[in-house]
Amino acid sequence: PSPAGEPGHVGRPGLPWEGTVEHGFPSQPSALAYDPVLRVMAIGTKAGAVKLYGAPGVELTGLHKETATVTQLHFLPGQGWLLSLLDDNTLHLWEVCQKEGCSHLEETRSFGLPGRPGCSPGITRVTVVLPMAAGAMVCLGTEGGAVYFVTLPTLTLLEDKTLFPDEILLSVPDDYRCGKALGPVESVQEHPRNGSQLLIGYSRGLVVLWEQSTRTVQHLFLGNQQLESLAWEQSGKSIVSSHSDGGYMVWAVSGTGQKTQQPTMSTIPYGPFPCKAISKILWRTCESGNPFIIFSGGMPRASYGDRHCVSVLQGQTLATLDFTSRVIDFFTVQSPSPPSPGFENPRALVVLVEEELVAIDLQTPGWPTIPAPYLAPLHSSAITCSCHVSNVPLKLWERIVSASSLPPSALHPSLQAWPIDGGKNLAQEPTQRGLLLTGHEDGTVRFWDASGVSLKPLYKLGTANIFQTDCEHNDSLNQAGEEEWPPFRKVGCFDPYSDDPRLGVQKIALCKYTAKMVVAGTAGQVLVMELSDEKSEHAVSVATVDLLQDREGFTWKGHDRLAPRNGPLHFPPGFQPSVLVQCVPPAAVTAVTLHSEWNLVAFGTSHGFGLFDYYRRNPVLARCTLHPNDSLAMEGPLSRVKSLKKSLRQSFRRIRKSRVRDRPVSPPQVQEANAQLAEQAGPPEVEMTPVQRRIEPRSADDSLSGVVRCLYFADTFLRDAAHHGPTMWAGTNSGSVFAYALEVPSQEKFSERAVEAVLGKEIQLMHRAPVVAIAVLDGRGNPLPEPYEVSRDLAKAPDMQGSHSMLISSEEQFKVFTLPKVSAKTKFKLTAHEGCRVRKVALVSLASAGSEERLENCLACLTNLGDIHIFTVPSLRPQVHYSCIRKEDISGIASCVFTKHGQGFYLISPSEFERFSLSARNVTEPLCRLEVARLQDTSCLRWAVWGVWGALLWWNPSRTRLGPRGSSSSEVCEGLVVPGACRGGWEQGECLS
């Protein structure tokens, strides 16, 4: 993800692959800043990214050319300038630029402090950055104790203004000086009322109020405790300093030339035992009462030294906000227009911790959290699977939203609006509602509003409460500790520890018309859920399906099944389970599919697959796919971990054995070996352990060959060309496809007659590669619609006259077969040609940029090399391909989901989805504007050039994409896919490239 594109990027077909927007929480944040005028915040990351967030939908992204950690970020309030300090000690100026009505973040200049001759480079290491309110200068405090001044926006050093510690030491009394240096500058704060006065704090504890204009010391605070941070009281009458011993001190500021030995107040809030340092402290005045003192750290070293805390203290009220990850930084948000000028009246406290962003409402008693509209911690429990539902009907959407709006617990979230609301979102209202479902390790399924730029949490469904797990008493423990001191309060939702790995969600299927959902997990549990607007108390009926089907000689060595809780259970409004199907053996569910019209759910594991009628609540079919020689399939994922010791022991044995065998080499063999060595032309290549790969075709008895990889329902022609009917298809890891003809009673007779399944066909792909997807195409070559889509007039009825065909995608090739005679029509051997393997595949319909009517069905395929290939359907002609994900990023590739309309998501970090688009029409990317009032207009020269490019670019009024990236990859892709429709796009691309 690079910042707004460069002219060279435009129109090069296929080359630049860029995601459109990142959803979730940036990985490894390292810096935070807030602009109270623009009301936007910025987050910097260890990877060198800078992200600006304002109102929902207002997002700007920039990336430093250097991949260095952003250690500090500072806004020049209101001016659209942002200073970033990297850990390579360079300072960078970012600018919010406007082009074509949209704002973009651009790095304009960078600066490094010149080293001082004869000194170690460490002393010019910048420790403090303070942009001055006047806006024309930045003040840099350094490791060596010097304070430098740099002009803005040119970033030139004002050498004559530099303040060296020697100058300060002149005014320091001798008994304080003791010949010791002042240490690094720890904090520089501007006087809240008088811009020319700076409060400079040195590590040793000395704090100086420095008058810039006259270069005189106004006030000396002779602190003796190692200083961590400083903050002004808003009136400028007192300051607060925090220290490494976990204490803070309040000092009174008075007239000129004074020296203060003692603070007016000094306290160690979590004493008396040794405490950790208070790394940052804020003092915020409040009209309604005592001032807020907010600080991070300071916990008693021995008992709570490992906690990540921010403390909020107002008068006698103290809350110790206890986070699950390290605190990076925090700030408070003031009301935009203070009711009375003397007070700051903080509305909210925003804390950035390593894994999430938490906002606390400081105006509501109890200081509840404010739910964030973006930066959702997707990884609050690790994501185990994801699934996208497009075009969600409004009715279902509203029901899901209302189910989530009722708070499940006593911890009411604040009703206060999100306080960071700067900027204007210019993106069009999303034309349809998209739902992203993520399954998590702890058994929850989270529903996200993926319609627009910001991924909003909608609803969270837990499945753990259906089972007996040991996690329950944990909650009671927490409650018991209420009286403890410090008054810890758990905030945030990042909790990477799963109580029971068996709860993990493996597969999700949702029917958006009937609000039925299937959630399947690691211990072979398949939950059929129904959306209910009322809370309910009912028992979940449990059924077990034996997938081994009396196969003998197999003993499951993996985990036990989850024991369901007995009796009626309480369920809040939302998705409530009606049936629990448990597979035997309880291996992880590897495929699941749902047909709500036929009331059927199909599920598969590494042992076989089953079909369950959830209306009559009885199993219809179970089929074992296990190969008799497959031993690995019977070991659950957990038992394999357990057997590590065993395998280690075995490998040691093997080594020993081979040594024994190798030693007595018979003389003729030695001679032969020597002769071979001599025959080699050059010196033998020095390769320690050459990586070898065995070349062998797959055989039927490869391990895990029976894993069911995909399941599919279709109303099509299986037995003869005259009659179509319900069918179910299953594909396995060894290239087998099983097709069943289903006898499904009509709607009225569901309760009377049972569903029957008869094996219709078995197909064995000769190349035996895993079958990753099966789809049936109608007579016109279109994929069959989803259940209810036709009866509700949401899709065209499929063509049942022409002959249907079946698309089978294996890891190695795509094949289209005719139905009902399964004869091969077309195929594309991806692996044989490209040497890559299919990881994810989906049928997507891409709309032409010119007209929404022109839809083209394509096969989108993500390979193990991270490339996305697009093929026509059903002719399977390769169209374009992009390199999309790094091939080393296995979890990114594994996490990819395609939407029906040619967008997609993949995880770029455990907490972030990158969104991309293969379509020119269907693009979700941030378009926003920040109104910047800059003192000097310094629009960089480059923009003049851009103007020309821009004019060329934005000429076409029918364009829907506005960003400069807009015209890059996906447009060209579309041009290829729908050749006639987007000739405009092509020409544009050519004239620009």
Binding site: E696, S823, A824, G835, C836
Partner: protein, 371 residues
């Protein structure tokens, strides 16, 4: 029927030849065009047709000018028979099951008369195992060096036929670096090499590949620029009909073509390394389609090979062939009636081996043979 009738009608031009065919006690006479005898399969079908034994497997023999009974079982010896027959081609047909293989060979006609010697020394000819020349469909392709004529002498293109053998392919590949001659001189480039041959495996038993041979192409696709994993995947994907072009580590056994002197092998051809593959594809494509056909089992439990919807038709010349096809399908040559619709003329060459148990065939690779 046409040709036989035409022959019988007596239009005996110079180009035609009389055929006298004996099956059991029955004789049939018909004529063949000497210049255009057609393929053996057509002739075989024609014989079955004229003798009204459409689904009987038979052995076909003829007497050559020396009076020896020689078999006809492929295009070559069929053409030989036609070209040498003068004026009459005598055909002897035996049922396969009660065929007397010893009848074939040199001096067979004379030996036959010498019954006494056979009776006196019966073990004499039992000891000698007779070489049976089978029908074309009984043959299977074997691994070989191919495209010798279009490849540089330093390269070797090897086709490994896994088909029908239980042997593992049996080799390993590794990363390495190779030295190439480029316009800028010698350059070290990454390459893929054969690292190990499994004893008793196909690769070793053919003797066509050796450790440290550099792999240049896999089924016509250059491997340069591809990772070891990619090449592994490509080889496995093509493992049923794997064609690898290698530069043998040992360049001493290269095939030396007549057009070149032996001294020219080695470095001189190096620089003329083919840059793009299509022009030297040679054998790579033609047989590609036949190598892997998926098996489909209908609910009856019978396995079938999945036929192609639109098979590429082979040479269909004579009218009689079409008729033959009709006959053969009618008589259950193909296992399922479903297949008829799909078959056009070219697919006569397909034959299915139907094992008793459908399930079993799924687990075996080589049961389905296509020619």
């Amino acid at each position: 029927m046409n040709r036989a009738q035409r022959g019988a009608a007596g239009s005996r031009g110079l180009g035609t030849m009389e055929v006298k065919s004996k099956f059991g006690a029955e004789f049939r006479r018909f004529s063949l065009e000497r210049s255009k005898p057609g393929k053996f399969e057509e002739f075989y079908g024609l014989l079955q047709h004229v003798h009204k034994i459409p689904n009987v497997d038979v052995l076909v023999g003829y007497t050559d000018i020396h009076g020896d009974l020689l078999p006809i079982n492929n295009d070559d010896n069929y053409h030989k028979a036609v070209s040498t027959a003068n004026p009459l081609l005598r055909i002897f047909i035996q049922r396969k099951e009660d065929a007397d293989y010893s009848a074939f060979g040199t001096d067979t006609m004379t030996r036959k008369k010498n019954v006494l010697s056979n009776v006196l020394r019966p073990d004499n000819h039992k000891k000698k195992p007779h070489i049976v020349i089978s029908m074309p469909q009984d043959f299977r392709p074997v691994s070989s060096i191919i495209d010798v004529d279009i490849l540089p002498e330093t390269h070797r293109r090897v086709r490994l036929y896994k088909y029908g053998t239980d042997k593992p392919l049996g080799f390993y590949i590794r990363d390495g670096s190779s030295v190439r001659v480029t316009p800028h001189g010698l350059e070290k480039v990454p390459g893929i090499f054969i690292s190990r041959l499994v004893p008793g495996g196909l690769a070793q038993s053919t003797g066509l590949l050796a450790v440290n041979d550099e792999v240049l192409e896999v089924n016509g696709i250059e491997v340069s620029g591809k990772s070891l994993d990619q090449v592994t995947d490509m080889m496995i994907a093509n493992s049923r009909n794997l064609i690898i072009t290698v530069r043998p580590a040992n360049q001493r056994n290269n095939v030396v073509r007549n057009s070149r002197t032996s001294g020219s092998s080695g470095q001189s051809t190096e620089s003329s390394l083919p840059s793009s593959t299509p022009n030297i594809l040679g054998n790579l494509q033609g047989e590609e389609e036949s190598d892997e056909e998926d098996i489909i089992i209908e609910d009856s439990g019978e396995p079938q090979q999945i036929p192609k919807a639109a098979p590429t038709s082979e040479s269909i010349e004579s009218l009689s062939q079409i008729e033959l096809l009709h006959e053969s399908t009618q008589n259950g040559f193909l296992p399922s009636s479903d297949m008829n619709l799909n078959h056009s003329a070219g697919s006569i060459s397909m034959e299915y081996e139907v094992p008793e148990q459908g399930r079993k065939s799924l687990e075996e690779d080589g049961t389905i043979i296509t020619l």
